[in-house]
Symmetry: C2
Subunit: 364 residues, 2 copies
Amino acid sequence: MEENKQQNVAQVIKDSAQDIHDKIVKSQKPTMTTPLRSLSNVAYHEKKGHFQMRGKSKIRTLTVGTVKTFAQTLKMMALSKELIDTDDMATKREAYYISKNWGKAGFDEQSESDTIMDDVEATFKINREKMKFFPEEKGGSVAGRLLVYDRDHEGSRLEIDCTKFGSGAYSIPNAVEELEFKSNADFILAIETAGAFQRLLQYGFWDSKNCILISMGGVPTRACRRFIRRLSESLEIPVYAFVDGDPYGYFNIYRTLKVGSGNAAHLSEFFCVPGAKFLGVTPQDIIDYKLPTHKLKEIDIKRAKDALKNDPFVRHYKQWQKAINQMLKMGVRVEQQAFAKHSLDFVVNEYLPEKLANTNKFLP
Amino acid sequence: MEENKQQNVAQVIKDSAQDIHDKIVKSQKPTMTTPLRSLSNVAYHEKKGHFQMRGKSKIRTLTVGTVKTFAQTLKMMALSKELIDTDDMATKREAYYISKNWGKAGFDEQSESDTIMDDVEATFKINREKMKFFPEEKGGSVAGRLLVYDRDHEGSRLEIDCTKFGSGAYSIPNAVEELEFKSNADFILAIETAGAFQRLLQYGFWDSKNCILISMGGVPTRACRRFIRRLSESLEIPVYAFVDGDPYGYFNIYRTLKVGSGNAAHLSEFFCVPGAKFLGVTPQDIIDYKLPTHKLKEIDIKRAKDALKNDPFVRHYKQWQKAINQMLKMGVRVEQQAFAKHSLDFVVNEYLPEKLANTNKFLP
């Protein structure tokens, strides 16, 4: 199955290159079409549960002015095919350095090679991990009721038991496509900060609540999102997000996790977690739990107002509009560790159990 | 042993509070003395292998103007004692939120509580982890020939085998003091970037070279440094650092790992890894391996010149002065993934084996 998918990517690359070659041989001008990557070219598809590109795209025609970009794009495609054929991979930075052997088609800065990589990805609608390109970043930590099946570098199967890490955790690899899972957990709790994750670990939360804890460490990386997505599909259990109560937590973290982001909407179908629900912290929690807060910053207010106006996800859900308006009216934001004001175990013994008893009240 | 150490911290706190109480009762003005935390108040002690505070300190006397800071410091000490007595812990952010219950002694911003925490730490010369305060950040990933012994939240002993994580890794916890280790590895390789770590994992480097791989992910966190330090002492094997060839890699990452930093010199004796040696990437490697480079930025040049002038570690070692001058003369920096220019396996099959065959040539 996996092998077939990889062969397909190689085939897609070959077909595209052949097409360009044919046109050049016939003295025609080859073109490349890339969808426009921005929030304005995105729609929220409720049934599918994620952002989708709308029709706008940019067409690049081979001319004297575009010849270098054209060559770079083709070299990048060739590198991908080579990596697939040799069952290897390259980080984005390595791909940049490999280009130093491409003569005049070499990149001057990694930002250039990253852009070409994004374009190729969007053109083929294949996520770059399938093309064997990986980001540098590591993708979060996991603890709790989960068995992960992986292979070592010699190909032997390994069982990784995430209940057996004590105060540590399992660190998600860059490539999660071939991992397999087994679990009898009731739900997955995706947590914004490493500190809150450590707190829940300390009190054995995954044990008492029979769940899987994932530390996203801020905006979840692609590997982390894909890991949660694959986990939720394979185990068929809900995903609850526990993040700070501020626009950054609501949109950059939660909305990206659930439906995707504007400039990577061509990937939403692979990377988003449509079934995710928002556990908290909500503006109403601030009142219900008498939480200490911080004043909203200028940038928070701007981000919230932008979301009300332009974010297809927020515009789709009245509940989110209500929550954001409540936050703007109260003029404050709240962090997920504010519960420590009451006591260190409050979040574990009071807040989370009360919320989890009413999952139907979670924000969508 | 561990319990004794913790009782000592509680005792130190109690004695200090008693002393202040006695002075107040006798209508004397109590004082608190904190060492000055900056590179100018630091010396490099070659025999001990780390930075040490010199004599300068600031004395705070209880007056109308200092009464709030005094109260906050005492409340912070009381919180530490409570955490020790209940065998709990608090993140730095949680400690800030707990202060919201301290009435007028509450902190307005976390930066204030962090500073008080640093002061208490420096005053008592006890690292804050021993006072049961932990940073938010997670501390790096580990793979290779290492068994880690930890306990689960119910106190049962666990064995964690770092050869069994496949493409993933073991994520170091915040608190590493009570972990135990077993290994027959020949050395520890501490790696700057997650990308280079993933590359060595992919090719089974820890298996072929019988070593332990640690991904520091930029400047290593306290937990990561303490983990490497405890590992190197308990296993009695060398630590080699593999980082980018730029001033940031040389000083912010390597020098901090090996001897400590200016504003945390009071902690060097716990957190530094005196036995660490610099494998690369060196300016000479750029020439020997024909590596692609980037031009030094203004900030790189400033940092390098500052180091030559003011860094006690650099001033101690002629070899480092030579390397930095060579870098400044060449005017370029190099990243540890630049080897990908030759081929993806070059770093694994050529560079590292050649360097490891001559560890006596490593920079100190």
